[in-house]
């Protein structure tokens, strides 16, 4: 195992232990159970966003894009809103959590493959067009979701509203096992594909000459990204810039294009940032839900810095 990845794993382990045990009071059983749930949620979300971002940057041959910038999570929010609008509050609440999530993930994967597969298949070289199309799609999905939210009744709107703002401290316990299972499968699949991802990152002409089934690989990668984005969006809501910080850190730490190292590093960094950040905010600063705001703020600044430095690719 690579030393840097091992060190990251140790950092994450220490942060997780600190999160679980710091300032634990008399009612330790109850507190530990509560914290373990939140910790598991953060680890799943961090790993999902980290791996999804690296995968998406590989498939789009671009280091400043994240699935969120391209409107992936807006698509998920639109699906959620459409579901609430179609079924009503009670119908939505009556749905079994597991089947609902599985169906959403499947629809997400298909929609993402159809939309972004077409886009990446032909226009991948044209970065400006890619970003513009992604931003426009994101706006379209958000507007559609907003339109649905306006015509639905206020009770249903309250549900939708809760779903469409990011919060790392509000993690749905019933959904967690399903989301964790889906994320684990997708991350494992990504690890298994890491050698092929290395070849895909060389660009289409070279990858095809080396015998990679480039189009099939593009679709498979997009499907994995869709699953991972569904997981993180379902658990904490849409996060736009977090993935950018994670992939930026992973790239500068690993300093190699090998996905066998990049993917585990991104998964561990994603988890570590969330756990350490939440630790600082909850225990040191005594704040409840500001982490998502700070993460987005820092990520947004990082995005601007990348743009200004001209690191488009």
């Amino acid at each position: 195992m690579d030393r840097r990845v091992a060190a990251l794993a140790l950092v994450l382990l220490a942060a997780s232990a600190a999160y679980l045990l710091w300032g634990i009071g008399g009612n330790w059983r109850f507190v530990l159970g509560l914290r373990a749930g939140k910790l598991a949620g953060m680890l799943v979300v961090g790993a999902s966003i980290g791996v999804a971002t690296i995968l998406f940057q590989t498939v789009s041959q671009n280091r400043i894009l994240t699935p969120a910038i391209m409107g992936f999570d807006a698509l998920y929010v639109l699906l959620q809103t459409a579901l609430v609008a179609a079924l009503g509050v009670t119908g939505f609440a009556m749905l079994p959590v597991g089947t609902k999530f599985a169906a959403e993930v499947a629809v997400m994967a298909l929609a993402a493959m159809a939309l972004f597969g077409l886009l990446l298949g032909r226009g991948a070289q044209d970065v400006a067009r890619m970003i513009l199309t992604g931003v426009i799609l994101g706006i379209l999905f958000r507007s559609l979701a907003g339109f649905l939210a306006r015509v639905m009744d206020p009770n249903a709107f309250a549900i939708v509203q809760a779903e469409s703002f990011a919060s790392f401290s509000r993690i749905d316990g019933a959904l967690l096992p399903w989301a964790a299972g889906a994320a684990a499968l997708a991350v494992l699949a990504a690890f298994r594909l890491s050698s092929r991802l290395d070849v895909m990152a060389l660009g289409r002409p070279v990858a095809v000459s080396l015998g990679l089934r480039y189009e099939a690989m593009t679709f498979a990668t997009l499907a994995l990204v869709a699953v991972l984005v569904s997981v993180s969006t379902a658990l904490v809501g849409p996060v736009t810039f977090f993935g950018l910080i994670v992939s930026g850190l992973a790239h500068s730490l690993i300093a190699s294009a090998r996905h066998a190292l990049l993917l585990p590093a991104a998964a561990l960094i994603g988890g570590a940032i969330l756990v350490i950040g939440q630790l600082v905010f909850e225990r040191v600063l005594g704040l409840q839900s500001a982490l998502s705001v700070v993460v987005e703020f820092v990520g947004g600044l990082f995005f601007l810095w990348l743009l200004l430095k001209g690191r488009i690719r």
Binding site: R196, A201, V208, S209
Partner: protein
């Protein structure tokens, strides 16, 4: 043997290739020549399955390029396009090592590493092996891509203008190396602009113009004032040096 049967290709409504019939033999260097827009690169990319075949059939050593799995074709032919750009930031050695990927699929064996080192030495890259691709010159980067293709160890090499960024010494060295490779049972197809390289090193020359084969044959048959004059629409003097045509196209 590469067989090209009645291949036509169009981009939008513009015809790029029209009814190409060609047989390219192993154990030889075949040079594709012709003016800009003749369809040379398109033909090479069609053989190398980089663009989908629209009409006609192409087979490489009996493998139909549209139906044979890409991975199997990667052990039969390697193609290097005109633009040399790697999506990821790689060291020279890492790039060359990708040439072995079709053989080991991510688990390099000792013989793969040996092949990579041999290719690095062959292309004068051993001293640059640890440099990043964006830290070397255009010609050196091009040599790294060529070394990757050589490391792939295929019977067919398809190279699109491989001499573009190379200085005189490296250009001649590359042509000599390709000339030497063909004796090992390999076939090499190169698109060249400088016809003198075709004259000096090719066994077979195919002249394309306007998407059609205008002439093919040995350098002596194709590189004549008449054929070249018609091909490039200019008057060209041809003399002879050491039994090979010498084209004086620059005077």
């Amino acid at each position: 043997m590469i067989r090209i049967d009645n291949v036509s290709h169009r981009i939008g409504t513009a015809p790029i290739l029209q009814g190409i019939d060609l047989t390219l033999l192993p154990n030889s260097v075949t040079a594709l020549i012709g003016p800009n827009g003749a369809g040379k690169s398109t033909l090479l990319n069609l053989i190398g399955r980089l663009i989908p075949l629209q009409e006609g059939r192409i087979s490489v050593d009996g493998h139909d390029v549209t139906t044979t799995p890409s991975r199997q074709l990667a052990k039969v032919m390697a193609i290097l396009g005109q633009t040399h750009h790697a999506g990821s930031r790689l060291r020279v050695r890492e790039l060359v090592a990708f040439g072995r990927w079709p053989h080991h699929l991510g688990r390099p064996r000792p013989e793969d590493q040996a092949a990579v080192e041999a290719a690095l030495v062959q292309f004068d890259l051993a001293g640059l092996a640890e440099r990043f691709l964006d830290e070397v010159s255009g010609g050196q980067r091009q040599r790294a891509f060529l070394a990757m293709c050589i490391a792939q160890d295929t019977d067919w090499l398809l190279l699109d203008e491989p001499l573009n960024n190379l200085d005189m010494a490296h250009a001649r060295a590359l042509m000599a190396r390709l000339h030497g490779l063909r004796s090992a049972g390999r076939g090499i197809v190169v698109v060249v602009h400088e016809v003198n390289y075709a004259a000096a090193w090719a066994d077979h020359v195919v002249a394309l113009k306007g998407g059609r084969v205008v002439a093919e044959g040995t350098p002596h048959q194709v590189l004549t004032p008449e054929v070249l004059g018609q091909l490039y629409d200019m008057e060209i003097r041809v003399t002879e040096l050491d039994g090979r045509p010498l084209i004086l196209h620059h005077v």
